[in-house]
Amino acid sequence: MNQKELQKFISYLVDNYQVFAPQEEEKKVIIKEISSAKTAALTSQLPFFSWKKFFVPEKEIMFSFKNSALIQNGAEKSSQIALLGVNILDLRSILLYDAVFANDPYYQKQRKNTLIIGYGPEVKLTDGALRKIETEDLKCLPFDIFLYNINQGAKDQKYNIFSATEKGKKILSEIDYKDYTEIKFIGHKYNSFLEEKKNLRREKLKNNHIQKIWDELGKICLECGKCAIACPTCFCFKINDCPELTEGAGERARCWDSCFYSEFSEVAGPVSPAGEKPKFLKNTAQKIHFWYYHKFARIPDEYNMMGCVGCHRCVEVCPVGINIEEVMEEVEKS
C-alpha cells in the first residue's frame, strides 16, 4: 500500500468510524481522535499513554438505579470506533484484556465495536529501545488489519497489509484494496526467549521469595500509583456506587483502581489507635510485591503470558526511578 492508498484507507475509516490515532503534541505522542486523513500520523514512537482506556475505561457505568432497583447500563448501541496505528506492544496487552474479560458483557460489547489497525514492525520506546516483530509472529497478535511498514524511516513509505478478521477484509474490499495477506490469528504465543523469561520469573517469584528486594523497593516507592495508571496491562478495578440527590437513585460504576492505594485491601473492622482500618497490604513493600507478583506470577499462572509487555511506561513515569527491568533482573538472579 502506498501513501495515496493509505490516505484513501484512512479517509474511509474517518467516514465510517470515530477514529483514534497517535499524534504528536508538545513533543509527546498522545492518542487523539482524528477528523481527517491529513491529521493521522503513523509513528513508531510509543504513545505516552497506552490504548487501555478504549478497552478498560477509567470509569464505566455498569448499572443505574432508581428506587433502589438496578438497571443494566449499555442497552443503547455503543459507538463504532477505530484504533489506528496500535503498536505491537500495545497489541499484546489487548491479548490479556481479551482473556481477562472473556465473560464480561460490558467489555465484549465495546470490543465488538472496536476496529483495531495495528502498525509495525517497529516501536521505539521513550528510552530509545527498539522492539520489532517478525512477519511470522503477526499471527499471535489481535488486530483486524496490520500496516507493516517496509521502509520505516524512508520518505516515501510503503506498507505490506495483513488482515486477520472478516471485518478487516470487508473494509479492504470496500476501498477496493486487494493486495493484502490473510493471516489466521492463533492467539497468544511467545518466542522461546520470552517463554523462558516468563517461566524463570514466575518460578523465582513463587518459590524463591526474597523479602530484601521488596523491602528495599518499599523504602523508595512513594505509592503514587503512576505506574499502574501508565501500565497498559494494569486492569484492576473497584466497583463504586455514586448516589444522586434523589433518594434511591444513582449509578454503580467500575473504576480504575491501584494496589498502591490504601483502600485497596482495606476491610471493615475495628479501627487501629492510629485511625487506620484493618487491611491486608500493610506496607509499601507488600504493595510493590503485590504489583510485581500479579504481573510475573499470577497472570502467567492464569493466562500463560506475562502481565508486562515491556513498554517501559512505568519506568518513564516513576518519580523515584524504579526500573522494572532492573527489578526483574534482580529477581531472576536471586
Partner: protein, 294 residues
C-alpha cells in the same frame, strides 16, 4: 451474555438480634439460592455498594439468612432496614468447606451442587478414608459460615463422624446462634465454649480459643476447619501442629476485600489465588508458603 454483576431481589422478612451489634437477617428470594456451606454471596444496597457475606441458613429452607455485624458503611444501612425492605443478592461464589466425598450418601449432593455453582477443585474434596471426625475451631463471627454445615451434618457428613467445636468469644453475650446449641448437642455435637475474660455467672472455660486445647482431648483422625480472625489462626495452627495434624487436613477461611466476586478485580488475591473464586476456604498446605496469606 449473562451479566455476572446483576443481582436478584431479596426481601427482608425477619430480623433477630444475635449479639450486640449483630443481627440475623432472613430474606425471601425469587429464585432459591443453592450454595455449598462456606461459599459467599454479595449483598447489594444501591447507593451504598456491595459486600461479601457467607450465608448461614439451613440448606433445605427456601429463605436466605445472613448474620451481620454493624461495622462498615453497608452494614450500618443493612441494620437500619425494616421488614419488607429489599436488597440485591448475587452469587454464590468460591469454594466452601470440603465435603466428605468418600461417603456415597453425599455424592449426589456434591454433583448437584457442582452443576449449580462453581466446581470444587479435585484436591478440595476429602478422599482420605481414615478421616472420620471433624474439628471446628471458631473465633467470634467465625461460626457464621459453619452454621449451614452444622444444620445439614447428616447430609454432608458420614453418620459416624463426630463433630467437636472449640468456640471462643469475647463475652458470653457475643456467642452467636445460642438458640441452636441445644439441638446441636442433642445431635451429638460436642460444643466447647470459652470467653476471653472472667465474667460473673460463667462457669466454663476462660481464655482464648487455644485454652480449650489444654483442657480437652481432640478427636482422633480429625480434619480441622478454622474460622475466625487471622490472629487466632497463628495460635491455633501451632496447637494443631503440636497434635500432629497434617497441613492437608487443615482448612481455613480467609478474609479479603472483594469487589467483583469472580476473580478479576484483584483486590482479594493471595499469591496466585483469589479469595472470592478459589476461597474463601483454603487448604492450609496450599497457602502456607505465600507471604502474608494469613
Amino acid at each position: 451474555m449473562k451479566n455476572p454483576y446483576a443481582t436478584q431481589t431479596a426481601k427482608l422478612i425477619k430480623i433477630t438480634n444475635q449479639a450486640p451489634n449483630i443481627k440475623l437477617f432472613r430474606f425471601d428470594l425469587d429464585k432459591k439460592l443453592d450454595f455449598s456451606p462456606g461459599q459467599i454471596i454479595f449483598l447489594s444496597i444501591p447507593g451504598f455498594g456491595e459486600a461479601p457475606f457467607a450465608p448461614c441458613n439451613p440448606l433445605e429452607t427456601d429463605f436466605l439468612e445472613l448474620c451481620v455485624r454493624k461495622v462498615g458503611k453497608l452494614t450500618q444501612i443493612l441494620h437500619k432496614l425494616k421488614i419488607g425492605d429489599s436488597v440485591g443478592i448475587r452469587g454464590p461464589y468460591g469454594q466452601g468447606w470440603p465435603l466428605f466425598s468418600h461417603c456415597e450418601s453425599i455424592n449426589g449432593w456434591t454433583k448437584q451442587s457442582q452443576s449449580i455453582s462453581t466446581k470444587l477443585p479435585h484436591d478440595h474434596n476429602i478422599r482420605n478414608n481414615k478421616i472420620k471426625n471433624l474439628m471446628l475451631v471458631v473465633g467470634g463471627l467465625g461460626l457464621i459460615p459453619l452454621r449451614t454445615l452444622l444444620w445439614g451434618k447428616n447430609k454432608f457428613l458420614p453418620n459416624e463422624t463426630k463433630i467437636q467445636i472449640f468456640y471462643g468469644a469475647k463475652t458470653p453475650d457475643d456467642f452467636l446462634f445460642k438458640n441452636d446449641y441445644a439441638e446441636w448437642k442433642e445431635q451429638g455435637i460436642d460444643l466447647k465454649l470459652t470467653i476471653d475474660k472472667e465474667c460473673p455467672g460463667w462457669n466454663e472455660c476462660v481464655g482464648v480459643v487455644t485454652a480449650l486445647f489444654n483442657k480437652n482431648m481432640i478427636s482422633p483422625n480429625a480434619i480441622a476447619f478454622l474460622c475466625g480472625p487471622p490472629i487466632m489462626y497463628k495460635f491455633v495452627l501451632e496447637k494443631l501442629k503440636e497434635k500432629n495434624l497434617p497441613d492437608e487436613n487443615i482448612y481455613l477461611s480467609l478474609e479479603r476485600r472483594m469487589h467483583c466476586g469472580i476473580g478479576v478485580c484483584q483486590h482479594c488475591a493471595i499469591g496466585s489465588f483469589y479469595t472470592c473464586k478459589d476461597g474463601p476456604i483454603f487448604r492450609y498446605d496450599k497457602i502456607k508458603n505465600i507471604p502474608n496469606a494469613i
